[in-house]
């Protein structure tokens, strides 16, 4: 590392050119990033629930990918029917749309005068043009309830166009399809109103909104960083260098994403912002230290080299703990979290690397050419100083009170944090007032529901679905499922068989039943397939009639609803007297994935939390060469993280793919605060200060950096608050709040703990040739030569505050 730094300073142009080259290479990859907002990719491919879902999708044809609802006083007005027909035709013409179904073209099965009529509700090109014809159609449509709440609302005030997409249509191709549909319905809007939703649309729009986030948020975080950097440095060099270096690392990371074919998901959309908020500190340290030395007279390449060499270990450590915390996310089976963890770790590593090579290289060039810069002093209204003073007074003088209060907060937090719920609900990721959420709400109010769910019947052999006993079981379960609140519609092959039976008995409603003989069922189905209706059943049965499914339309995709459905199915499976040919009944659908997500997100949150906790402990214990100090470092994290869950519990923020990253980010970023404070404390103790004095000094010096850093990171994450996605917004706000509470905890709870139970410190301070006593930061594997030059004193503390503090002190001296 040392050599690399020296090389960067000796050959700045080489380093800058190399960085520029790599950046360009990665930047060219950025446009290739693929978006994948599908729910099913959230769980790993070998997840059993995901596997069942994926396999079931192969067995049955898709039923509904996109729903277009048309709301009007009375759908059966000829003009409205004509509009429905035109809109449907235009939608069918969109590339990628496979099939469009609506109340005019769905198959009707009708018996009449000894004959059977299986044909579309309305013959091709004969949309009712008179009120009389429209009334005839109303009667026809009303005579069979199978389409009610799917294609037509019960009150006839809404009609739906249900589109399915071609097999190979990828999610990113759906966005143009959505907008094409949107353009079509806009043309026909009024007095009829149109609403577009459906899982595929929701997924696609997520992708679309992701782009909005990507366009809007990273520039915003740049502005926020520039403002904070301005407050720290008050000069262009200090503002731009850390920003540019962290922006470069963001480009590399997104480039890597494209190269490794990691798709952009909602969670990874937050990556550039999170990375820039977390990673800017490294550049700040380096610039700040170099500036400080420069101001103190240590200029030129030698000066820069010294300053960077001194800061490299703390920067490396800070990056290491943050990386460790991010990598802990890889222990989860939730794919976007794994990706987020890996990429963030890479990004942090890059930001650190650039801060130690690219930034010094730039500084070398700029110093040789630029004018000298006078560091900004915190001489004017210092708000942080009094705050730190207060922190030190409270934690030292009232340490017991602080600890008691902390434990009270902890207890209360645990009480409220218990109530944190997890749920994966695509539509709720969108903002309350977004058009898609409005559309989805209205469609769910009027129709059966925009979320599909499947209850699959597996039988023992080919054609066994035709067994009347199996069909009766299906009918029985279907009726029970319909009783579940939030289940708006249930359709299966049973509805078609019953209707066929009725039709073959001259439309007699008494025969709307499942026939007694298996042969008759088979013959009905053959007849249906003759009538061109064969493929209409492909969504309900497999090709060999060994599997059949009840399709549920549900008002929400919540995992909790899935549990309810599953419970009904479980009870059915446990019931007596089921058909002999019936093998198994199971549930699948996106809501099941949500349910599975709920299950794994909790366990994985615990796992990644423990993992990052342990990893950070090991690192800090290693850094301090003291298990005891390792333990102390972790302590200030406990209350804030518990508080985080309490905030979630009280405000109803759910544990989701985005908020599940918060605890890990907290640990990775927050641990640095402990390290800084403890390090300074130990340093002062070794100078012979008392516990109290050492703490006071540590709070007053390191505290400033901690507060600045917390403010900067919080400000960075707050950029996520205006995100298009509720969950990202929540994540941003939570991290921002947590950074502040961790900072407060590190400056109150930690000192209070030390006051009450001062850790025993061992080892002699190491003396360096300069004569200044410094702390030897001994890490394994570092060459002996390096030990002596490592200083880990106030100049390396977080944020520019310390250095300036020291400078101020030195100047005053």
């Amino acid at each position: 590392m040392r050599r690399l730094i020296r090389f960067s300073i000796e050959h700045p142009f080489v380093v800058i050119a190399a960085v520029a080259l790599v950046t360009v290479a990665f930047a060219t990859q950025v446009p290739k990033v693929r978006m994948d907002p599908r729910v099913e990719i959230i769980l790993q491919e070998n997840n059993p629930v995901e596997r069942v879902y994926a396999e079931n999708k192969k067995v049955f044809e898709p039923y509904a990918d996109i729903l277009v609802g048309m709301i009007h006083e009375d759908v059966f007005e000829p003009a409205t029917l004509a509009k429905l027909d035109r809109v449907a035709r235009e939608i069918e013409g969109i590339k990628g749309v496979k099939k469009v179904q609506h109340l005019l073209n769905v198959k009707n099965i009708q018996g009449s005068n000894g004959g059977l009529d299986v044909s579309p509700m309305v013959e091709e090109g004969t949309v009712p043009s008179s009120p009389e014809e429209a009334e005839l159609l109303r009667g026809k449509v009303s005579s069979w309830e199978v389409y009610e709440n799917t294609y037509i609302t019960r009150d006839h005030r809404g009609a739906a166009i249900v589109a399915t997409l071609e097999d190979g249509v990828e999610t990113d191709q759906i966005v143009p399809i959505y907008y094409a549909i949107d353009a079509i319905v806009k043309k026909y809007e009024g007095p009829e109103r149109f609403f577009i939703s459906g899982t595929k649309v929701i997924e696609a729009l997520q992708g679309h909104y992701m782009i909005k986030d990507l366009i809007f948020l990273p520039p915003l975080v740049c502005v926020v960083l520039l403002v904070s950097l301005f407050l720290f440095f008050r000069h262009l060099r200090g503002m731009l260098l850390p920003l540019v270096s962290v922006a470069i690392s963001a480009v590399w990371t997104v480039g890597l994403m494209a190269l490794s074919h990691i798709p952009l998901t909602i969670v990874t959309t937050a990556l550039p912002v999170a990375l820039m908020a977390c990673g800017s500190a490294y550049g700040i340290h380096v610039v700040e230290n170099v500036m400080a030395d420069s101001f103190a007279g240590m200029r030129g390449k030698g000066g820069i080299d010294n300053a960077v060499a001194r800061i490299r270990i703390p920067v490396f450590m800070a990056a290491l703990t943050t990386m460790a915390a991010f990598i802990s996310l890889c222990t989860t089976p939730i794919v976007p979290l794994t990706h987020f963890g890996l990429l963030s770790a890479f990004g942090i590593f890059t930001a650190m690397g650039l801060a130690l090579t690219f930034v010094p290289a730039m500084l070398t060039i700029l110093e040789a050419r630029g004018r000298e810069i006078v560091p900004h002093h915190h001489t004017r209204r210092d708000l942080v100083g009094p705050l730190l003073h207060w922190f030190s007074r409270v934690s030292i003088k009232h340490s017991r009170l602080v600890i008691v209060l902390s434990f009270v907060v902890l207890a209360v937090s645990i009480f409220f944090g218990r109530h944190v719920k997890s749920d994966l609900n695509l539509i709720e990721d969108f903002r309350e007032r977004s058009p898609i959420r409005t559309a989805d709400r209205i469609l769910n109010e009027k129709f059966g529901g925009t979320s599909l769910f499947q209850v699959v019947f597996e039988t023992k052999g080919q054609d066994d679905i035709k067994d009347p006993a199996v069909l009766r079981d299906m009918e029985r379960l279907q009726a029970r499922l319909m009783d579940i609140d939030q289940v708006g519609k249930a359709v299966s092959i049973v509805d078609f068989v019953k209707r066929m039976n009725q039709a073959m008995h001259d439309g007699d409603p008494a025969f709307y039943t499942i026939p007694e003989s298996r042969e008759l069922v088979a013959q009905y189905l053959l007849l249906f397939s003759f009538s061109g209706g064969g493929e209409d059943l492909d969504s309900f049965v497999d090709y060999n009639y060994q599997k059949g499914q009840i399709l549920l339309q549900m008002k929400t995709q919540s995992g909790y609803l899935a549990s309810e459905v599953e419970e009904v199915v479980r009870r059915f499976n446990g019931s007596e007297g089921k058909a002999e040919r019936l093998e198994n009944v199971f549930t699948t659908g996106l809501a099941m994935l949500a349910k599975e997500f709920n299950r794994v997100v909790v366990t994985s949150q615990v796992r990644s939390f423990i993992f990052s906790f342990v990893l950070c402990f090991v690192i800090t214990a290693g850094v301090f060469r003291s298990l005891r100090l390792g333990v102390y470092s972790m302590m200030p994290l406990i209350v804030p993280i518990a508080l985080d869950f309490a905030i979630m519990g009280v405000s109803g923020i759910r544990l989701n793919a985005a908020t599940a990253t918060v605890a890990s980010i907290d640990i990775g970023m927050g641990i640095d605060y402990s390290i800084h404070l403890l390090n300074r404390y130990r340093h002062e103790r070794r100078y012979g200060q008392s516990v109290e004095e050492a703490l006071s000094t540590a709070i007053h010096t390191s505290g400033r950096g901690i507060v600045y850093n917390a403010l900067a990171v919080a400000a960075g994450f707050l950029v996520l608050a205006p995100s298009q996605f509720v969950i990202i917004s929540q994540m941003g706000i939570l991290v921002a709040v947590d950074m502040l509470t961790i900072a407060v905890s590190a400056l109150t709870f930690l000192p209070a703990c030390i006051m009450l139970l001062p850790p025993r410190l061992e080892a002699e301070p190491v003396t360096v040739p300069t004569g200044k006593p410094v702390l030897a930061l001994v890490t394994k594997g570092l060459p002996k030569r390096d030990h002596a030059v490592v200083r880990y004193d106030e100049e390396e503390e977080e944020g520019p505050g310390q250095g300036q503090e020291k400078l101020v002190r030195e100047v005053q001296q």
């Binding site: 000894g114 004959g115 059977l116 009529d117 073959m504 008759l520 088979a522 013959q523 060999n544």
Partner: protein, 262 residues
């Protein structure tokens, strides 16, 4: 004709018919002449019967198999009656399907379901709809006026190891197909392949005619495949025990006969 219709379904779709061995050597003939010649030989057989093995394959390669007995009788120009009796699968055995075809009218169809012991007339299908759930449409199954299309001899090339004429047929009025390209074997004038383009100009289906056998002097392909390029489904038909001109009675093509199970 039903099973010859099956055998030559696509061919018939453009007004072509199977040509007998008696047909003259076609060297120097124009595409239209080839077609016209075959038209003249159209009514060689007045009726026909065959055993049929039908496989429906979906886009995933899953199969549904059926065996049927099929009978067809022609009634003058572009009119015919056909009836099929299902032999298997077991649960539909005895089901029969009667179709009266008239090129100028909608087909009339009746279905007999043995489990219900009733004959039901089922609503007329459009010509463009699937015939018995196969990839053939009613239009494919019917015969059509040769002058509905114009023909161009595109080239001569081998297909399936046999030299063929490649003839492009363009409809004068686009209704079901916008273009049909037919490969006709030079040796016996039996079609080998037909590519069908839908009204949007998309390559929709491909018919393949294989295993040509000489039956009562008529060269008949006994394996016909229809591959739908859009939905990925296929229908494969194998014909056995073909008999031409056995003098099928009109009785056979009645509701009453349907219930007798063939």
């Amino acid at each position: 004709m039903m099973f010859r219709g099956f055998a030559a379904a696509v061919l018939l779709a453009v007004g072509l018919v199977l040509m007998s061995q008696a047909s003259a050597h076609a060297a120097g003939m124009t595409a239209y002449q080839i077609v016209k010649k075959s038209e003249d030989l159209l009514d060689q057989a007045k009726d026909s019967k065959a055993d049929m093995f039908m496989v429906l394959v979906n886009s995933k390669g899953e199969r549904r198999e059926r065996t049927l007995n099929a009978y067809v009788k022609r009634y003058g120009n572009n009119k015919s009656k056909s009836i099929v009796f299902f032999r298997s699968p077991a649960d539909v055995k005895g089901t029969s399907f009667l179709v009266w075809t008239d090129e100028n009218k909608k087909d009339q169809q009746w279905l007999y379901l043995p489990a219900l012991q009733r004959v039901r007339q089922i609503s007329a299908s459009g010509k463009g709809e699937s015939f018995m759930g196969t990839e053939f449409t009613f239009y494919d199954m019917g015969s059509h006026d040769i002058d509905d299309y114009t023909y161009t001899l595109l080239r001569e090339e081998p297909f399936g190891g046999e030299d063929c004429y490649v003839i492009e047929a363009l409809p004068k009025k686009v209704e079901f197909y916008s273009k049909v390209v037919i490969w006709i074997r030079k040796g016996n004038f039996v079609p080998a392949r037909a590519d069908l383009y839908d009204p949007k100009g998309q390559f929709e289906k491909q018919g393949i005619f294989k295993d040509v056998k000489n039956i009562q002097g008529i060269n008949t392909p006994t394996r016909i495949e229809m591959h739908n390029k859009i939905n990925g489904r296929s229908t494969i038909i194998e014909l056995k025990n073909i008999v031409y001109d056995s003098g099928l009675k009109d009785d056979l093509f009645t509701e009453r006969y349907m219930t007798r199970g063939g």
